[in-house]
């Protein structure tokens, strides 16, 4: 893997500094930015039911199934679009889709009190 392309100053680059034809000299990747922001449904995993067959991993069009120690380990929500394919293909019905707004609300309730305070401060900042 080549060294990561440094684009931190790209907004200041003159026209001759850009690679010819607007080529990005590294493989297509959205690793470095969030593309899951417009999801309206969120996959929720029931670990009890999951048999770690990885069918969801194969089918997810956004490579958003996380794997840890050869086990299904939830979803990469920064990139999951909420398409629901994983829920559809899972042979064990271990995934269900939840309304994203509800999920966010739930997340907010589940946050420890300190984090909630931080978030509020972030918003006002």
């Amino acid at each position: 893997m080549s060294k990561s392309w440094d684009v931190s100053e790209i907004s200041k680059w003159g026209w001759s500094k850009h690679p010819v034809g607007a080529v990005i000299p590294e493989p297509a990747t959205t690793n470095r930015y969030v593309t899951g922001g417009w999801r309206s449904l969120r996959p929720i995993l029931d670990l009890e039911k999951c048999v770690h067959c990885f069918i969801c991993f194969i089918f997810c069009p956004d490579s958003s199934i996380l794997v840890e120690n050869e086990k299904m380990d939830g979803f990469k929500l920064e990139h999951c679009k909420g398409c629901g394919i994983c829920a559809q293909v899972c042979p064990k019905n271990a995934i269900h889709m939840m309304n994203e707004a509800e999920a966010l609300g739930l997340e907010q309730c589940l946050l420890p009190d300190d984090d909630k305070k931080d978030k509020k401060e972030d918003k006002s900042a």
Binding site: I10, G14, S16, H18, V20, V23, E26
Partner: protein
């Protein structure tokens, strides 16, 4: 040793392609281009080349496949005409924007409506701002020579732009002409192998092509860089044109002049009309008229300064356009650009525009002479008639 053959234009192009042996040729048939890809497909089937030929379902797909293959670092060629070129439209800009050195023959044919399969330049002239280099050919020989040079021009690291080689439909594409063919080896040496700056197949450093410019907005910078490629193309086209003489004895420039140095009046034409104009010039010269010809080969980039230098001593010139901008009374594309080139020049000829040959309407030597008579009368009367006239239209 060169071989002389009687060939139609489309075969001359296919023969040049055989000698170049591109990696990929995605193509879709359309009159009058069809015989290029038909002949080439036969060459592929006969294993005379090792090109991967991709039969696609439309010209949009033909150029899309060409773009993909070129991004993979292949040397890619294709061919089209008229509606086919029109269907390629959005891909034309992507090919040039991604700086992919695709070489395409466009056999000039009128654009519908009404449906017409004959020659005019409305197809390629409409694409004049698509960022492609455009080289026009007077005959099959020039088309053959242009294709070979186009590979070098397109792939030059200072340029990296797609090149369109233009050839008049039927008049050149389907007429037998004398063509001097080069040996295979000198052509192969001349074109060399492609050295793409990036390749999708480079597994060590895989790049990404055609990404969204983000909301940071660097589109403007990329277009400015593209404009530079077109600017750089002039010097490269000149150099390649001179080098080509080394293997063929025929050198090429932005344009060619004929009896122009001491001329008072000039005809400016591109494509097959230049041959008719040359004969008209000879006949008028015999009658004592000081007439010359400037045949434009390179329309993109437009050699504005060089044209001004070559024509400033002329009293009046007849600029021939085989297409109309349909923009009111401003005339055809060659005229509009030439007139613009002269705006700041101190010495300039009076320029008259003759739009001719639309939909393949015949242009003969007498009509060509008539353009010169018209500009001569215009000059001596001091009465400036309309600068834009339609030549050969039934009134």
């Amino acid at each position: 040793m060169t071989k002389v053959a009687a060939m139609v234009g489309t075969d001359a192009i296919a023969e040049a392609m055989r000698q170049i042996n591109p990696d990929v040729v995605p193509a879709y048939p359309i009159t009058p281009q069809t015989s290029i890809v038909e002949t080439y497909a036969q060459m592929v089937a006969d294993k005379l080349v090792d090109t991967e030929m991709i039969n696609v379902e439309s010209e949009h797909s033909a150029l899309s496949a060409a773009i993909g293959a070129a991004a993979a670092g292949s040397r890619v060629m294709t061919a089209t005409s008229s509606q086919g070129l029109a269907l390629m439209w959005e891909m034309l800009y992507i090919a040039s924007g991604l700086r992919l050195p695709i070489v395409m023959t466009n056999v000039n044919r009128a654009l519908s409506a009404p449906v017409n399969i004959h020659c005019d330049h409305s197809d390629s002239m409409g694409a004049r701002d698509a960022g492609w280099i455009q080289l026009y050919s007077e005959d099959a020989q020039e088309a053959y020579d242009n294709i070979i040079q186009a590979v070098r021009i397109a792939e030059h690291p200072d340029v990296l732009l797609p090149v369109m080689v233009l050839m008049d439909g039927f008049i050149i594409s389907h007429s037998l002409g004398r063509v001097e063919l080069l040996e295979d080896q000198p052509v192969k040496n001349f074109v060399g192998t492609i050295q793409p700056p990036y390749s999708l197949l480079d597994t060590k450093n895989p790049p990404s092509f055609g990404a969204f410019d983000g909301l940071h907005g660097y589109y403007f910078e990329v277009k400015r860089a593209q404009a530079q490629g077109m600017l750089n193309a002039s010097a490269v086209i000149k150099k390649v044109g001179t080098e080509f003489a080394g293997i063929s004895g025929r050198s090429y420039d932005f344009f060619e002049t004929y009896r122009l140095e001491d001329a008072e009046y000039a005809i400016i034409a591109l494509g097959s009309a230049a041959g008719t104009a040359r004969t008209a010039v000879d006949e008028l010269r015999e009658q004592g008229e000081r007439v010359g010809l400037l045949k434009l080969r390179m329309f993109r980039p437009f050699p504005a300064q060089e044209l001004v230098d070559a024509l400033s001593h002329i009293k009046a010139a007849a600029v021939l356009d085989r297409s109309d901008t349909l923009a009111g009374s401003i005339g055809g594309p060659v005229f509009v650009e030439l007139r613009s080139a002269f705006y700041e020049a101190e010495k300039k000829p009076r320029l008259y525009n003759f739009i001719y040959g639309l939909g393949g309407r015949e242009l003969d030597i007498n009509m060509m002479k008539q353009t010169v008579e018209t500009i001569q009368t215009g000059m001596s009367d001091g009465v400036v008639q309309s600068s834009v006239a339609y030549l050969g239209v039934r009134e």
